[in-house]
Amino acid sequence: MSQPTTQDRTDAREPRQHDGRAIHATDLQLGYGEEIVVDVETLVIPRGEVTALVGPNGSGKSTLLKAFSAELAPETGSVLLHGESVNDRPPKELARELGLLDQENTAPADLTVESLVTHGRYPHRGFLEGLDAEDERAIDRALEMAGVESLRDVPVSELSGGQKQLAFIAMVLAQETDVLLLDEPTTYLDLYHQLRVMEVIRTLNRNRDVTVCVVLHDLQQAARFADYLVALDGGDVYDWGPPADVVDDQLLADVFGVDATVSSGDEPTIEPRRALD
């Protein structure tokens, strides 16, 4: 509570590398109409790390992402991206710093993967500008990093679910943002593509120092891939920290309503036993 706002101001003026927080939400209340869905005192997405938002259905994970991406204006409080409120930023400027991949994506059936990825350059182009050399390099890099280079000319409608997700990831990669938000990117995918997606995210974070905030359904997956976990319960932060500290029997029981054994090794391993009443 003693997070002084004055400190944020000085941070904003400082070069970014001194700021350990990519996203910083304070006194945040989010809702749809009358109903308040998320009520968080303070929540930090640390810079240069992979942070997973976990929690049961309806705990406010997706709503929180909407606030981070300025899609939903907060009832009270603020969301700062690198020290500046996301709601005050012009959309195009924000889109050059913050990428968002939705849970479900649609594209016209005959759009090719490369055309789709080209749209990722939208925030970097002026109203009348064509693609410049930098755009083309970014598109090539994104296709390569997401591992969909060989699918360049394939229409999106001919891709499998997993390939399609990788193509959309390539689109947000082409945006070349410092921060990337992903809403359940692995939910409907087969195991192979789940791992592919998580590896792309990992590589992106390690090689390009991109801050990632990802909503994950699968707690085990979150514990394996994320540097930090934010466990949400009923619209509030239940716990925050490295997976080894956050994931325990108590979390499973309190937040997920599951009786489970958690064994710690390199990463916490969860063995669910039964649903609690």
Binding site: K92, L94, N105, A107, P108, L111, S115, H119, L128, Q175
Partner: protein, 373 residues
């Protein structure tokens, strides 16, 4: 990374074979129809005479004569470009002052309706959207019938059509707005406003007491090019020169809008602003066509649709294809409308409806699905 790889967005690449084919076929169809239109009619002349009149060097090589024909006598006089047209032969007069402007206006009407429909199909994400989906037709219809019923002067009809259409669009937007719009709310608001305006229009029809006025009203509502000349050409050409380049520029934004609102927003598009500006552009195009031709139906619906089946969903291709295919359809349809029945002309909108309806029937039987891109 192959650098000779063809970029989907790179300049020039949209002029691919399919698009060239559409352009070539469209130009050919329009040219044949135009020749028929110029050759036949109450003033009979053999094809040779018609061609000679069309290529008359007394017009083509004399800027003053050309200016007087196209700009009208008074404007030419003001600009100091007036020339006496009595030196021209009768066939040249008929071709250059009566038949050719009608073809030209038909072409411009086709361009505007096709572009307007293409834009609205992206905004509403519905292949069945037409330029009239947000109330333009009903608004223009009410205004036109109102002008006729109260005898405000038929020279006001183009203005009334534009004002009525734009006002209806504004009402539709206000009705649909609730902290923002959605494609579905816009279309529903369009239906509601359209229903109310159509009732008003039908009600006012009862106050028309002369056959001539009734005929004028019906010609407007069905869409007709009877009696259009260079004056209408001048009305339609200025906005068209604005609409076409803007539509080509807008294409990339339409493509992004088709990825869905959330994605468009996350890519940095101000979705509401973009949607409003794109709608306004489409309304400008529709109003331009309505001002000179009345409510010609089906063109704005069919043309982008046909073009899309050939070139795919890339909007720059759709727009460029529509710029060629739109005029072809309207010029051909107007030739049929004017010469199809001996002794009388039917409104061109009747012909486009008769051509467009069966096309959609065919499409419905073949695919069974419409609303998905």
């Amino acid at each position: 990374m192959t650098h000779e790889h063809r970029r989907p967005d790179a300049a020039g690449s949209q002029f691919d074979a399919t698009l060239l084919g559409i352009a070539a076929v469209s130009i050919l169809l329009a040219a044949v129809a135009a020749l028929v239109q110029i050759r036949f009619g109450a003033y009979a002349m053999p094809m040779e005479t018609a061609l000679r009149a069309l290529l008359d060097e007394k017009v083509l090589t004399r800027p003053r004569v050309l200016a007087t024909v196209v700009l009208g006598e008074s404007t030419a006089r003001t600009l100091g470009l007036f020339a006496d047209l009595s030196v021209l032969s009768n066939p040249t007069i008929v071709v250059w002052t009566i038949r050719l402007p009608r073809v030209a206006v038909a072409g411009f009407v086709g361009v505007n309706l096709a572009i307007s429909g293409a834009i609205f199909q992206a905004i509403t994400r519905n292949e069945l959207a037409s330029p009239y989906v947000l109330g333009v037709s009903s608004g223009a219809g009410v205004a036109v019938v109102f002008t006729l019923v109260f005898s405000l002067g038929s020279y006001l009809l183009p203005v009334a059509a534009v004002v009525g259409g734009t006002a209806a669009f504004a009402i539709v937007y206000l009705v649909a707005w609730r902290g923002g719009t959605t494609p579905v709310r816009l279309v529903l608001a369009g239906v509601v406003v359209g229903t109310i305006f159509n009732s008003l229009q039908t009600g006012m029809f009862y106050f028309i007491d002369s056959n001539g006025v009734m005929r004028t009203a019906i010609a407007w509502l069905a869409g007709s090019l009877v009696g259009v000349g260079w004056e209408q050409f001048r009305i339609v050409s200025v906005p068209t020169l604005l609409v076409v380049p803007l539509a080509v520029v807008a294409a990339r934004h339409l493509d992004v809008l088709l990825l869905g609102e959330r994605t468009a927003r996350s890519l940095g598009m101000s979705v509401e602003r973009a949607r409003f500006l794109l709608s306004a552009l489409a309304i400008l195009a529709a109003a331009t066509a309505v001002a000179v031709a009345g409510l010609v139906g089906f063109v704005g619906l069919v043309v982008p649709h046909v073009v899309r089946t050939f070139v795919g969903t890339d909007y720059r291709r759709i727009i460029v294809g529509s710029v060629f295919a739109g005029p072809a359809l309207v010029v051909v349809a107007d030739t049929v409308a004017r010469l199809g029945l001996p002794g009388t002309q039917v409104p061109v909108g009747v012909v486009t409806g008769l051509l467009g309806g069966p096309y959609f029937l065919y499409l419905l039987r073949r695919t069974g699905t419409f609303s998905e891109f």
